[in-house]
Symmetry: C2
Subunit: 434 residues, 2 copies
Amino acid sequence: MKRLDTAQPDFRAGFASLLADRDSDTARVDGPVTEILAAVRARGDDALCEFTNRFDRADVTPATLRITPQEVETACAQVPAALLDALETAATRIESFHRAQMPSDMRYVDDAGVTLGMRWTALDSVGLYVPGGKAAYPSSVLMNAIPAHVAGVGRIAMCVPTPDGVLNPLVLAAARRAGVTEIYRVGGAQAVGAMAYGTATIAPVDRVVGPGNAYVAEAKRQVFGTVGIDSIAGPSEVVVIADGNNDPRAIALDLLAQAEHDPMAQSILITPDTDMAAKVERAVATELETLPRAEIARTSWDAHGAIITVRDLNEAADLVNTIAPEHLELMIDDPAPTFRRVRHAGAIFVGRYCPEAIGDYVGGPNHVLPTSRTARFSSGLSVFDFIKRTTFIEAQPESLRKIGPAAVSLAQAEGLDAHALSVSVRLADLDRRA
Amino acid sequence: MKRLDTAQPDFRAGFASLLADRDSDTARVDGPVTEILAAVRARGDDALCEFTNRFDRADVTPATLRITPQEVETACAQVPAALLDALETAATRIESFHRAQMPSDMRYVDDAGVTLGMRWTALDSVGLYVPGGKAAYPSSVLMNAIPAHVAGVGRIAMCVPTPDGVLNPLVLAAARRAGVTEIYRVGGAQAVGAMAYGTATIAPVDRVVGPGNAYVAEAKRQVFGTVGIDSIAGPSEVVVIADGNNDPRAIALDLLAQAEHDPMAQSILITPDTDMAAKVERAVATELETLPRAEIARTSWDAHGAIITVRDLNEAADLVNTIAPEHLELMIDDPAPTFRRVRHAGAIFVGRYCPEAIGDYVGGPNHVLPTSRTARFSSGLSVFDFIKRTTFIEAQPESLRKIGPAAVSLAQAEGLDAHALSVSVRLADLDRRA
């Protein structure tokens, strides 16, 4: 864990190294992924089953790739009712937020009499990748599938690896709640390839979304263009801005909630209160003594964690804008000025009663967020990932007279004569009729 | 050119081969691009100047990479006043449409008393790639730079190669009109690398946009993640739906306006009127006799063009949804029903007086559009490319009591105990105070 202080002369260097310390290139897996994708593209289900049986120690055939409704029901029956209730609370809130997010179409007539506008349309089909094994998070199923459903996507196909044939009941319960009925027991680059190119069993989709390991991320990068993809998730991070009026244990747990995800995760406390800084540092150490995932959390905190003391909250907001964190908590008395000053963050959790874990499950906004400083230029998953815009123009004769000549001039200047003629023959026709 | 008729038994096969005929993989240039990017990343300006001098037969140094304001003024002075006026008409209309496109922030309080919302923020900086030589289109400078400007991007850097040292006056005039003052005479993968990683002379940007050749496209693919990118443009296409009440020459020119761009471009006429089909086919042949870019247009039309006769306009719209064309013209008497039925198209040009060339220059909506069937899942360039969303939640004690327990259950089920504790310690604290 790094201790930094903006008042110290070495702050800039220390802060720069904090930002850079997770920049190392991820493992290069492009070669194997290219091979897997080519095989799935060429040999479809056969290749898909071979890879699945090899990597997941499974025994699938094209006939058993799809998880049956009966299997889903059997799995869901194992989920305790209280947990199904919690899933329902989460799903309802996620649904409600994403409905509010849906944009409106636009249409207007301008001064030249031209009708202009844009229209939003849902994608026909999307493929949802869900990691298997320990990283199988039912909450992520809700966060990926519900926005697609709200956006009006007609077909949602889901791929989830089932290593050693083991189904995750809560993942299937989440899929059922989110209205996903087309589920395949495949994972890895081969699953991405199947969804992008299609096989005899799995029809191709228009866009592939969802988190995954390095192979899945590389596969998404390689199929980009054939299908759309969401952003490629890197290790995630939280910045907590906390003043002196906090329970240090609560702040420590917020930092550790990020750290327990992944040894590469990054948790940063920024505080104007040196006393709080020291208390939180001690509280982190105390919690690590009993936390079940202490090994992961400690590795993350030791290698990438930081406590930064600042002169004031404006300075804190400015640091946040350089970090562009995935998650930002504002655990301060008067959060509004800091909230306004922050420009780059995936999601902001405002006030002492809104820890980031609320947003992971039941807040409503999406928990799939831009990681590794990409909040500088990208956004969390949303209904916007499942709809696209069509712009339109409608010109009447009088409007064409007004704006057409400029188009002719520019087309001629660019040496595109058919472009120019396509406008000028219509203008000439109007002149003849006039 | 293919002649297809939906009433014929071989239609499905012919239509499928029409869709597939441009699917061949683009040239593999990933090896050389990886090397160029690594060199620019490692050696900055030195590598950038070396590649520029080699590929563009130039003689630049770090000190002369940037095009000076004086050079811009000198170049602009060469542009005829009428052309500057046309540029102004285009710029004003593009600006106006993209202003109308800006979305609003959202904020509301839900039943549980939780404040929820999302906020749009502009990117700090973007890099605009502009192709050089013959493909240097001033209209593209406007279409890329103006939305960034309207979105509120603070810094817009532009890279344009100047082979043999030749500046394109109209490109510089377009940049000046669009408010772009930071312009570098570099192109290719090396320009993309410089914008993504930064050099001593060119500060890194957050997102790189703009069309380019195969090297530029591959470079954008490889820097994706370090920076954002726009979609990777493939060969473009138009579908014209025309009824019998058209001037066949106008329709032929619309088809050729697409074909004259690129031998790989695709122009498709869909008509319920077999007489019009024949007339347009003859008109295309006639125009090709005199069109300056006839060689390119003929190659495109012969290899990828098509005339499809359909039973009715509904069938036409359904074909469009499978093609998902970049551009769609509705040259029909009553366009509204067909307009409503179309789900997948980059931009729609409605009515006989709105040829697609209007949209290329002066319509207002962006002419950077999803090509090669990607309108199934993506959209044209817009202000949305230059802003991003931050979601936020603010929970009061009473709201936390309502929604917190479900978060605790789900976090425990996912084995993330610090997540669960970060909520439960706050709930316990509230209980103590109650």
